[in-house]
Symmetry: none
Subunit: 303 residues, 5 copies
């Protein structure tokens, strides 16, 4: 299958990037069920690091085996699979070339307090494992947010020089951001904009609520109103904040919820012009059959 | 258009710098409406990083698209365009060679407290994007001011070795500086002087008020008085503090105000011997038509 | 003067190159009398190295002074000036930013037999002097031609990483190439094609004669004939060999001849779709007045 | 003028240093009015950084122009001129080779609280500007004193490998040092000794008072008494602490005072065996005529 | 003694070089008997390497001791002393700072056939020994001439980055150059021009004869005649070939001859605008008394 006009158009936004980076981005956009649509669904598995193995895999114990996660990613036809070093290593050879991989280069864990993550992989690892790109989390607002941004700067500079795309998990927390504000519309828009300014190829943010968090921003949102009750309108604002839609943005729903709520969110992302979803716990914590069904339903919405 | 005697004279101040750096400085001074006059107006767009996207672009939503900002810089005939990585990347290829670019290498954001910025770009990025120079903010007085100065030292050393100019945003805050003092005459003079001592090619400071902030400085300003009510006299003092006028200094007015006030400030800068203005929100937050009119009026004053 | 559609179109051929390289190419194409036309005339002064100072400059002794050569390049309005290290150094500061410079990185001389050149400058020198690019000669066919090609590979790789364009002097000689063949149509087409394959931004070849040199090529040229007596047709063939005209090719005429012959050649280059001329001895060996007249006449043809 | 026996003897103390370092030290000792005497007077201009431009230069506004400072250093015949990066850059080419230069590599400012300085220059800068050495301030006792010492260690190691001398401003403050103690005899002796131990080529300390600051030191000074009221005896003790006089020590007097007091101090330095003075504000804050007179008077004492 | 207008003017030719390089050049031009005149006499001692110790030092056996050569350089008041590594090392500490040193970085010897030299020192050695510059021989025309030129390119690039000047011994031999041609006017002019193009700070060539060697050059010298019998006219042509006199050129007379012949040559160099002489065997092979007399006489001519 050749590149579609839709994908060709998306690649044109990444002007000045090397053909190597564009080729890797194209691999992601031309893989799986949504190939060529400009939409994408990514399977991320960083919950083991974030919340521990039992909280992550006990509901569906076959998922303790990393090969299961590769199989889920491949059989479901999602666009790509993102995980920390060990998970990708265990399967990278067996499934080499079967699904676009994204190596998550930093990870936090629940044993430590505070908002930070440790570097847990390298750009060289991403090359060795045949990944199309790297993943990196920043916590704008947090105590170490500037250090995280500077790490991202170094790693994405290096990744680009190797033709790898960068996927930035931009999750504000701490600092002036309230707990509710972590998904506030103004905060998510800011998070997406910062990721774009930092040169992210793909931006990953949480689906925004209708809450406006920063006092300094309230008058702006009053003067230039957005329908805060309309999820699609909120997504549209996030896309606007992402270079007027000229960056790929994928959304995560956060904590597990029921299927119909999740599909409603997906329709809002689609209608607001978002590029897709990152679906982790909602897939690998279900049985394989259920997971394939859910992912299929999600991709039906985007297709 | 060849170099003018005015520009030739300015370049002679930068003795000991490489011809490569002078060629890039010359490109800036010979571009646009003010080419050859020794004055310059620069369009900076770092507000998205500093204040978030909505507060920056909602008043004129076309500005969410980075191409719009390039077009504004090119059509208005300003001397150069300064922005963080992502904004310059999205347009650098389309508009290659059409306007001198300055890559801002550090950026702060409103989600985090305190006076600091994160490194968000590299000298290699500036080369890759065809920039004439780098931009860097220091906050003299702030908790991390010495670290910021040391980062500047490293980056400007590297930039010089590649023939790139450095534009230093010198914005005292924190430490012994009061809120009112941030634009105090003594503080701004000090800020400009420090930037000059640090080897800045171009110094960017706020337009000073008549306030004297440091107790230690008050007796000096009483003994050697300056007409504190005369904006041009204040600008003249800033130029004096900038190697007796042998460094290029551009001024920012800060928060948006009405047009006639802004033009009055510009006339004071001109009359005091300042080299020009950095005009951000006052241009990209207006409609294109109004922005082009304002920039044209500002450049009329300097021409 | 902003970029023209013609120049914008030319830059689009160099896909995958960095915005930095395109900005430097744009600087060359937007400078001087021919700015924006997609045509260019370059003043090269490597004859001092190649043939010694007296044979180069005795006819017009003011040209012994490197400043004269800068002045000639600037006053005539040619697109750029190409020379070895010492010549560019003596004037790079005085005339910083006034004319696009190309640093010739290798040079041969007439005291030594054989077809080779020595490296005489570095990419760092090109950066230090504010050049838009580097120049490099290869002698396809010569004993050391593969070494020269490998040097070019290294230097142009490094130059590209700094955003510098590469101008390749592709001059077949030695090996299977006869003396007459050095300007043979098949040989020049081959030379241009090799330079394009080596990643040259701008290709410099000699204006081809109607001679076909390689026995192996004769049947092809008989089967697919070109009007060997038509200079424009020959130029057209060279452009065809240069990625069907998607690389910039400039032509040198070699030994000095009379003005009307030279202008006739220039018209053939223009009519055949060539991008311009490199005019050295024919300009700097005449009095300044005559040289300016000649260059003006040449540029009139291209304008 | 060739090297004198006095200078030859001084150089012999620096055994194990490279001839390159000795040549640079010799350049300093053989320059100006005091050439060959083994005494030296250095013009330092770091007050602009330390106290701001107005407090430094308003009393003699021509000193805002860095060229004036070069001219003062050259015309007065002092041994050398020490300043931060920007001040040396603005004049290094015009006055190349006319006066030995010392690049101050760290600087503090009055906007920030606490005793620390930022790195503001590099050893490469010192080489590029043709300096004979680097200058560096340490604050023994201060919170960051160990970091400052470690920075000195790295920079002086690097400087030595390039043949550059190091001049160490050793200014105890903070920690166990009282305000009065900053010029206490025991503290200054300690400061000089530490600088010697750190490998300083030239030690710069404040002229000591008769105060003994550290309780732990008092019994020693009682048991082995020094005439605390005799300034020359105090200087002699500092020289003793500086490898028994085998390191060059220069003294600063601090805040401006009247001329006869200053000359009295200079005579004490001379009589105590000190090597000379660092005279900043007392020279550049006077009119040029007065400054030349004062420096001449000071050098008369040492000659 | 401060810099003279003559020296200031010479330094201005080296535009774009660092203040560091100019400071070192100034040190050479401001040292010794000819300080400030723009003329210089250099004592070179590379004959031990070239011809063996006995042929070099037997006529004046005290010269076997390297300290003698330093003393000769210092007492005579010549501008500088140039020698290979070992000779400079043995004395560099004893005489540190007493005479500007030039470390010859390559050397040939008489035991091997062919025209080549070996690298025998490094830029780091030059720094360690406190030299103002490096010396390097090229043999344009010789079998390995291009390799020598490439070594020079690397070493002079490195030297410049440390502020060291480069002195290039440009001695054509081999290739198309006949034995008589080695001092032919056209060949020496070519040699000087090549050294200038290679970025030499100071060019060292042999005093040219009236012979024209290259067939290709004869018609030029007939058409643009020079008085071949007039030594000053020949020197003038060499200066013309050296960027119209904007590079420093010093001449060697080669094999020893009688004093009056040598002084006649020196007068020709002076009258033709040459910058001075390199006098080796004619000085160190005589008794010290005679050598000092000769060098004094030579400097009298230039003074």
């Amino acid at each position: 299958m050749l590149r579609t006009e839709t994908v060709r158009n998306i690649l044109s936004w990444y002007e000045g990037e090397t053909p190597g980076l564009k080729a890797n981005l194209s691999r992601l956009l031309m893989h799986g069920r949504l190939a060529g649509t400009g939409r994408l669904v990514i399977l991320p598995v960083d919950q083991g690091f974030e919340h521990g193995p039992a909280r992550s895999f006990a509901p569906n114990p076959v998922a303790y085996d990393p090969h299961y996660l590769y199989e889920l990613a491949i059989e479901s036809g999602v666009s790509g699979y993102a995980a920390p070093l060990g998970l990708l290593e265990q399967g990278a050879d067996t499934f080499a070339g079967e699904v676009p991989l994204i190596l998550k280069l930093n990870s936090g864990n629940s044993l430590v307090s505070g908002n930070d993550q440790a570097l847990t992989g390298t750009v060289e690892d991403a090359m060795r494992l045949g990944c199309v790109g790297i993943g990196f989390t920043i916590y704008p607002g947090a105590e170490y947010s500037y250090e995280m941004i500077e790490e991202l700067r170094e790693l994405s500079h290096k990744a680009k020089s190797c033709g790898l795309i960068s996927v930035v998990w931009s999750y504000p927390r701490g600092g002036k951001v309230t707990k509710e504000g972590e998904t506030g519309l103004d905060i998510i828009a800011y998070a997406a904009h910062m990721a774009a300014l930092l040169g992210a190829t793909i931006i990953k943010v949480k689906l925004p609520s209708g809450h406006i968090d920063l006092d300094a921003a309230k008058s702006t949102y009053e003067k230039y109103p957005i329908d805060l009750n309309d999820a699609a309108a909120r997504v549209k604002h996030i896309m606007q904040a992402s270079f007027n839609g000229k960056r790929i943005v994928v959304f995560s729903g956060g904590a597990a919820k029921n299927t119909s709520e999740l599909l409603e969110e997906v329709r809002a992302i689609r209608d607001g012009g978002g590029n897709g979803s990152i679906i982790g716990r909602n897939s690998f914590q279900r049985s394989k059959e259920e997971a394939l069904k859910l992912l299929s339903d999600v991709m039906d919405v985007y297709a």
